[in-house]
């Protein structure tokens, strides 16, 4: 059974069809890159997974649950099984790195000592151990992105969705982030990555879904960025 299933998805903004009859699924533990030109609907597909937006037609099924039918607390429960890395980080400005990363565990009502240990481990994994008491404003773009990944990872989600996580980063930081995502994937978490970066996609050597004119034009297990 697929972890996430996009079934007959279409999306239109003001009668402008952005996504048209999208059908694909993502299995548990998979690494999937969504590629395509700007405006092709990659981010919109990711927003469907966290129900930030709803498709105009079709269904997004997460672990057998139709996200379009979930409300309130049910939706919160599903979102807790997803880690989200936003392109603009969306870190909490008035909380330290430690507090940002600890937030999903606080939502899960974990005790303080477990939070302390777990956040410490994850911050070591992403290389931010020494900056745990800094506010986000004091971090570089690469560090902010690593903090965002740590927050997405901390509660052991089934899948991490990463929307252009390297969009604002230099090549060195870009590779650090990609290596980190690959490592997280090796530990069993599914990753869905959207990116424009051809080199990154080609070097990852994992499944690639290519979008063009609102449709899936290619879906290959060891794919390349070919648009």
């Amino acid at each position: 059974m697929a972890l996430i299933y996009f079934k007959d998805i279409s999306k239109a903004y003001n009668n402008n069809l952005v996504l048209d009859d999208i059908n694909f699924s993502v299995e548990a533990g998979e690494f999937v890159s969504l590629v395509g030109k700007s405006g092709v609907g990659k981010t919109t597909l990711l927003k469907f997974i966290i129900a930030e937006e709803q498709p105009s037609s079709g269904h997004v099924i997460f672990d057998d649950q139709d996200l379009g039918k979930l409300k309130g607390s049910q939706l919160s429960l599903v979102r807790r099984r997803i880690g989200t890395v936003f392109q603009d980080f969306k870190l909490f400005a008035d909380r330290t790195v430690f507090e940002n990363v600890a937030f999903p565990l606080e939502v899960l009502n974990q005790p303080d000592d477990i939070i302390k240990d777990h956040v410490g481990e994850v911050l070591k994994l992403v290389g931010l151990d020494s900056q745990k008491n800094q506010l986000p404003v004091c971090l570089s773009a690469g560090e902010k992105q690593r903090a965002a990944i740590a927050r997405a990872l901390i509660h052991g989600p089934d899948v991490i969705i990463a929307d252009e996580p390297t969009g604002n980063l230099d090549p060195i930081n870009t590779w650090d982030i990609i290596k980190l995502l690959l490592r997280i994937n090796e530990l069993g978490t599914a990753i869905i990555l959207t990116t424009h970066n051809k080199d990154v996609v080609n070097k990852i050597g994992k499944r690639v879904i290519s979008l063009e004119n609102g449709k899936v034009i290619r879906d290959e297990l060891n794919g390349q960025y070919i648009i």
């Binding site: 966290i50 930030e52 309130g72 607390s73 919160s76 429960l77 599903v78 979102r79 807790r80 099984r81 997803i82 880690g83 989200t84 936003f86 969306k90 870190l91 909490f92 400005a93 008035d94 909380r95 507090e99 937030f103 999903p104 606080e106 939502v107 009502n109 005790p111 303080d112 927050r151 997405a152």
Partner: protein
């Protein structure tokens, strides 16, 4: 439960301290709202007390013929005291009436001279009747006009008093209506300003609120710290208001007492300090909480 409460409190306290300038501005705006609320309450007390003081001076005076013996006047006094509408009935003898009269006319030697020439006390004994309520004076007058002792009276002095009472009633009603309208307007404006200030504070955190929702936080978890902040703003503003009003009452009440003896605003304030503070806290918390609650709704839809 305790853990969640502790975290909510910690998050709201951090929000206040780390955005201290915005918190301070919000507390000051809530303070103005609570101060307005308190000022209106004290103004209302002053108006009611002033009118009550003036009403206390109103009575019906019935003057007896000089030949009516004192024992008969006492019988009338007892009879009138038995009326359910009567608060008190006071006997004023001829001698007392003369003393009052002389005291009132002490700067008019011609009057003194005239009384001396007469050689006797020309004034009549009287009964001074106070009603329990202003509305009761008319029924007491009706009773007197139908009573068996009406022929023993020279005059009933109420018309002047009646005019004062009627005017006072009109003044009191007008002031009360104006005060209520003005209060509603002022408190309404204060609450609106307050709401907008808190909305601004929450607006600056809208992206965070959205991100919290998207990482799976339930509404109460996101809303909690902001509601706590609203509560803390209300408490801080109430304490500040209490300090400011206490200093103001301490400084101004002696002067008000000198101008309007018996007003007792200082006494009222200090004896009701607990209730006033409770009202301030409840009002402050209510506007802080309600403003936060309403202002957040828009951003919790994600």
């Amino acid at each position: 439960m305790f853990l969640s409460f502790k975290r909510l409190f910690k998050a709201s306290w951090q929000g206040i301290v780390r955005n201290w300038w915005l918190s301070l501005a919000t507390i000051l705006v809530v303070f103005l709202s609570v101060l307005t609320f308190t000022g209106i309450r004290l103004f209302g007390y002053s108006v009611n007390r002033t009118v009550a003081m003036l009403q206390e001076r109103v009575d019906i005076s019935i003057y007896f013929n000089k030949d009516v013996p004192e024992s008969e006047i006492f019988q009338v006094q007892t009879e009138l005291e038995g009326l359910p509408q009567a608060e008190s009935v006071k006997y004023v003898s001829q001698d007392e009436t003369l003393k009052f009269f002389q005291a009132k006319q002490k700067y008019n030697p011609a009057i003194f001279k005239a009384i001396e020439v007469l050689g006797t006390n020309p004034l009549s004994p009287s009964l001074s009747i106070k009603a329990k309520n202003n509305q009761d004076y008319q029924s007491i007058l009706d009773y007197i006009s139908k009573s068996g002792f009406k022929d023993r009276l020279i005059t009933v002095n109420y018309e002047e008093n009646q005019r004062v009472v009627q005017k006072l009633d009109i003044v009191k009603k007008t002031i009360n209506t104006a005060a209520i309208s003005f209060s509603v307007l002022l408190v309404g404006i204060a609450v609106l300003i307050n709401f907008n200030t808190i909305r601004l504070a929450i607006y600056t955190a809208r992206e965070e609120i959205r991100a919290m929702k998207l990482v799976g936080a339930p509404n109460w978890f996101v809303r909690g710290p902001f509601l706590f902040e609203g509560t803390i703003y209300g408490i801080a503003a109430s304490v500040l208001t209490l300090l400011v009003t206490s200093v103001l009452v301490f400084a101004v009440s002696p002067k008000l007492e000198a101008a309007l003896p018996g007003l007792g605003i200082g006494g009222y304030y200090w004896t009701h300090l607990g209730w006033i503070f409770l009202a301030q806290i409840l009002f402050g918390i209510a506007i802080g909480l309600v403003s936060s609650f309403v202002a957040m709704n828009k951003y919790l839809e994600a």
